[in-house]
């Protein structure tokens, strides 16, 4: 079933490479905006813009601590993407599980010395 293309879903939010970078950094733990600006080598307004999009879809959460705003990853919002990819991954896993069986047989044939020809 094809997913609906909306502007405000997690799929769209992570389609942008910079936003994926932000998520990668936040995967390492909570960070203030300044850290993100430094690590991504982007101007603060750009980082803030990306963070706003990520917040809108719930991919990141923010909290105030003193004068700082700390951002952190919200894995739950990204689960639809994980699930989306998982099914296709499983198709290949299932194929390769069958391939394992074929390979076992080929190995056995080689050991018995009659597996040199197909």
């Amino acid at each position: 079933m094809a997913r609906a293309a909306t502007t405000a879903d997690a799929f769209n939010a992570v389609a942008e490479p910079r936003r994926r970078q932000i998520l990668d950094v936040l995967a390492g733990g909570e960070r203030p905006v300044n850290d993100l600006v430094r690590q991504l080598r982007l101007a603060q307004p750009q980082v803030s813009k990306h963070l706003r999009v990520l917040r809108e879809v719930g991919a990141v959460d923010v909290r105030e601590e003193g004068r700082q705003r700390l951002y952190r990853l919200n894995g739950e919002a990204l689960k639809p993407i994980h699930d989306w990819v998982k099914n296709y991954e499983r198709l290949w896993s299932d194929r390769f599980d069958q391939l394992d069986l074929v390979l076992d047989e080929l190995k056995q044939q080689e050991e018995e010395g009659d597996g040199s020809d197909d």
């Binding site: 079933m1 094809a2 099914n87 296709y88 198709l91 299932d94 390769f96 394992d100 069986l101 390979l103």
Partner: protein
């Protein structure tokens, strides 16, 4: 009895147009290569346990064509074909791949992918990496969506089994 479980396929999305699948096999690479280029062998694993491979044609030379058709347990038929671009025995297979049920208005060129399978061996075990390069993010996403359908079908099959068991 031989140990058959070597791990699960790991899927990542390196760029917006790519899918990368990696899997390790407990066999030397010349056997993995053979199992991927010999019709009688491909027929035995490509169905992914979801049905049967009814057509498996392989002409393993540069410019040679291949075509696979599978019929799922529910009767749904899917076909794929392509052309070999590069074949380095036991090392590398590069081929185009086109799904034969492309939506109306999508040309073969837009819908086809370039697939590169690379085999590396260590201690008698082979790591296969399969890089699927699509022509656009939309077509890459459509491929992943097709897995969604397969997954959904699995779920429905399971549901049916459960429903029958409750009867």
């Amino acid at each position: 009895m031989a140990v058959t479980t070597s791990g699960t396929a790991v899927l990542t999305l390196p760029t917006d147009e790519q899918i990368l699948i990696t899997r390790e096999f407990d066999a030397p690479k010349h056997l993995v290569y053979r199992a991927m280029t010999t019709p009688e062998l491909v027929k035995r694993w490509w169905h992914a346990n979801r049905g049967e491979v009814t057509v498996c044609e392989i002409d393993p030379r540069v410019g040679g064509k291949w075509r696979y058709v599978a019929v799922a347990h529910d009767g749904m038929e899917v076909g794929f074909h392509g052309e070999y671009r590069e074949l380095v025995p036991d090392e590398r297979i590069v081929t185009t791949e086109v799904y034969e049920g492309l939506p109306e208005g999508v040309t073969e060129e837009q819908g086809s992918t370039l697939n590169t399978a690379t085999f590396t061996e260590a201690d008698g075990r082979t790591t296969l990496t399969l890089l699927i390069q699509a022509s656009s993010k939309a077509s890459r996403d459509a491929i992943i969506d097709s897995g969604m359908e397969a997954g959904l079908q699995d779920a429905l099959d399971l549901l049916e089994q459960v429903a029958v068991s409750l009867d």
